[in-house]
């Protein structure tokens, strides 16, 4: 498909859209689907058919609209109205009210509230707008123009330069400069190179990548294809965890559709550039989100991390140079290519550019998916966008970075969100899970929850992580039960230090973070659980 054909198709789509009076968009992301949003779509469609209004009213299944707390959400375009907590009957009622020219007021969501107005949507610009299962919908909003621009108007070096200029850093959590990674893979000689999309999102409370894949899969494919062009790869893999059936289904259908259109496959756009994509499913191991374990898993081996160096850029999948990026990183690419690196870099802080998608969960009013500019403060995210803490409770801490991250207490709420600031606070950006904790929660319980997670997800390869996580989990149990001793606290801290410094991969090295950060900010909670000094504390009290 050439650029002209693409533009013609987009124009055709726009023309088609005009003939409808209203378009009713129903969220069919996993969250709303679990509240049977597909039944709402079916009910409204049936009503439309019954009234013979197929040419006037369009019913569309779209991706996540963000405000998951109010799902299932129905959006009415072009009026820009949102309705919350819909049922099939209520959906039909909204339709009827529209036909009466008196759009229903009841259950309307205030679209001017900070939850919407404070966001800056870049990665999520099409989620909740387009039908993720129709490639034409993506093309209608300008999809695949970046790919065609890259392969027909730019050299691969220019693409890498543009990404370097953008200052984009890996959205998987560690924040490695994406452009640098690309240029490394591009420079490594090799006939065969791979591009791998890491969609093995596994942090408790995180659903960013899932939502992006479910709502806008073509965007990720486009980003991957551009990356492949930039680094000289011809084969791509999307590694999705099997727990994301809807994301898998939509990515697979997106690949098929894009292949049919000639947007991925052989001789894309008449150029010599070839790029094929396949989906590989994870079998439920958290550690497979670690890039080397992920590569092992794709190869069909046990999902255990490999030693780095050599880094995947040099010797990755099947020993070939491999670029591994996260879903969100790839989803940022089309915007950068279309608008330029400088456009991307205009948002954000000095070292962290662009926007970041977060999944807001826990004790917060507006549970949902948000995208904010880097440098926004945690307070703005939690109180303005998130709507604060429900049930009159007090904010206690926010957990970022999942089992590898830490808790940030109230006194640091005005910290700007960027890679360095969060790291300095003993937490990390992570892939974007944000779990808000109120004053009804105990921080030792929290630390132990994450330690249990790390313990069960440790692959068992290196001793510090395999045994250390279990010992830490047991020690925290002593604190929970109030039978810990001073010595236990010392052992706890020593073990954290050991794991951090000697574990083989990132999972083990970061696993003590939930303990270390709660020790740093909530040490008194640990001290309260230490038994007053007794001559001989009961040895086998557990």
């Amino acid at each position: 498909m050439t650029n002209e054909e693409l533009i013609a198709l987009a124009a055709q789509e726009a023309e088609d859209a005009k003939k409808y009076r209203y378009c009713l968009d129903i969220c069919t992301g996993t969250g709303c689907m679990s509240s049977c949003s597909d039944a709402i779509a079916t009910a409204i469609e049936a009503e439309v058919r019954e009234r013979g209004l197929q040419n006037e009213i369009k019913v569309k299944q779209v991706g996540c609209m963000g405000l998951c707390a109010s799902g299932p959400i129905l959006s009415v375009q072009p009026l820009g109205l949102l309705y919350r907590e819909m049922t099939p009957e209520e959906g039909v009622a909204v339709l009827v009210s529209l036909l009466d020219e008196k759009p229903q007021v009841e259950k309307r969501i205030d679209t001017l509230q900070p939850f919407f107005s404070r966001q800056e949507r870049n990665v999520l610009e099409n989620t909740g707008v387009i039908d993720p299962e129709r490639v034409n919908d993506y093309i209608a909003v300008g999809g695949y123009t970046a790919l065609i621009k890259a392969i027909t108007e730019m050299t691969s070096a220019e693409v890498v330069q543009e990404v370097l200029h953008s200052g984009l850093r890996g959205r998987g959590g560690a924040g490695y400069p994406t452009g640098l990674k690309w240029s490394t893979v591009a420079k490594v000689p090799g006939e065969l190179k791979y591009v791998v999309c890491n969609a093995d999102e596994g942090d408790p409370g995180a659903f960013m990548d899932r939502s992006v894949l479910e709502s806008d899969p073509h965007r990720v494919l486009e980003g991957m294809a551009i990356a492949a062009f930039a680094v000289g790869a011809s084969q791509g893999y999307v590694y999705v965890r099997a727990e994301y059936p809807l994301a898998i289904k939509r990515v697979k259908s997106a690949i098929k559709a894009a292949e049919k259109m000639g947007l991925i496959g052989q001789a894309i756009c008449g150029t010599p550039f070839n790029f094929r994509v396949e989906v590989r499913l994870g079998a439920g191991a958290f550690v497979c989100g670690e890039e080397t374990a992920l590569l092992n898993s794709i190869e069909g081996n046990r999902g255990m991390p490999r030693l780095r160096p050599p880094y995947p850029a040099q010797s990755g999948l099947f020993g070939k140079p491999t670029l591994v990026n996260n879903v969100e990183t790839f989803a940022n690419i089309p915007g950068i290519i279309n608008n330029g690196g400088a456009w991307f870099a205009r948002i954000g802080t000095e070292k962290s550019k662009g926007t970041k998608v977060f999944a807001l969960t826990g004790k917060i009013t507006n549970t949902g998916l948000i995208e904010v500019p880097m440098g926004i403060t945690l307070r703005e995210i939690i109180y303005d966008i998130g709507g604060g803490i429900p049930n009159g409770r007090k904010f206690k801490a926010v957990q970022t970075g999942g089992p590898s991250g830490g808790c940030i207490p109230a006194e640091h709420l005005d910290t700007p969100v960027d890679y360095e600031s969060l790291k300095n606070l003993g937490s990390m950006m992570g892939s974007g899970g944000m779990v808000v904790i109120d004053d009804s929660s105990n921080m030792i319980d929290m630390a132990r929850f994450f330690m249990e997670f790390s313990m069960e997800e440790s692959c068992g390869k290196c001793a510090p992580c395999r045994v250390g996580t279990v010992q830490l989990y047991n020690l925290l149990g002593k604190f929970q039960a109030g039978i810990a001793t001073e010595e236990d606290l010392t052992t706890l801290e020593e073990l954290c230090d050991l794991m951090r410094n000697t574990s083989l991969c990132g999972l083990g090295q970061a696993a003590p973070n939930p303990i270390l950060s709660t020790l740093r900010y909530f040490r008194h909670e640990y001290l309260e659980k230490i038994q007053p000094s007794v001559a001989a504390p009961p040895e086998e009290a557990l």
Partner: protein, 241 residues
């Protein structure tokens, strides 16, 4: 640089100036120079995996530690193989291994021949600070000549590697994860019924502890013979040339 002139790097280990070719690891060079870095999962002749974390060394001037069995030195690096911090970590790792499964030396077939035991003695580990976890694993005595006792296994992966890399049978692999990881035979079948095992016994002899042993051996009788391994590797390399 032309590929015919190998790159030689010079650096120091514990202050001693040494040199390495491109292929040599820090551990290789240390051994050539009589510096003994403790190792447990490593065995000459098998692919190093860097998983026991005992051979970690410090890179002078940084806070970084690397597993010396796999890490290659850089020009001018100052490697420290022995420091208070390293000793502390090594002790802790050995203690963690002792706390993980049942390592009661007094009743073990390899008492006196055990690498874990020797390592504890070398590092001065005289007590275990951590709670014993003592999971219970079933023994597999179905093989006519050998037996496996997972309760003494430290998951170093040597048996898996020797079976795959040297014997070429790949009878052994791992199942489960974390603390529940288990070395298995074929698809977790009984050893005696394995269709792939060649009964060569290499796994038994590379095992650092009493997890794999010959049948009929009593306490402290199971000494391991490992010199076959470097010999085999040497012969094969020779053949390739």
């Amino acid at each position: 640089m032309s590929p015919t002139t190998p790159l030689i790097k010079t650096f120091t280990i514990d202050g001693k100036p040494v040199s390495a070719t491109e292929d040599e690891t820090i551990l290789d060079v240390a051994r050539q120079n009589g510096i003994d870095i403790p190792t447990l999962c490593n065995l000459e002749g098998l692919t190093p995996t860097g998983q026991c974390r005992l051979c970690m060394v410090e890179i002078g001037g940084t806070n970084r530690m690397v597993p010396s069995c796999v890490a290659k030195p850089d020009e001018g690096m100052e490697i420290v193989t022995d420091s208070e911090r390293l000793l502390k970590y090594r002790r802790m790792i050995v203690e963690l291994l002792f706390s993980e499964r049942n390592h009661i030396c007094a009743v073990c077939v390899t008492n006196g021949h055990c690498e874990l035991q020797a390592m504890a003695q070398r590092l001065g580990v005289d007590h275990i600070r951590y709670g014993y976890l003592h999971p219970r694993f079933r023994l597999d005595g179905s093989h006519p000549r050998y037996e496996v006792d997972h309760n003494r296994c430290i998951l170093c992966g040597r048996c898996v590697r020797v079976c795959d890399e040297i014997e070429g049978a790949h009878t052994r692999d791992l199942r489960n994860r974390g603390i529940k990881t288990l070395v298995i035979t074929d698809f977790d079948g009984r050893w005696g019924e394995s269709a792939t095992c060649t009964n060569c016994g290499k796994c038994v002899h590379v095992c650092p502890t009493g997890a794999l042993a010959e049948k009929g051996k009593s306490v402290a009788e199971m000494a391991k013979q490992r010199h076959f391994l470097p010999y085999l590797v040497m012969r094969r390399k020779g053949l390739k040339k």
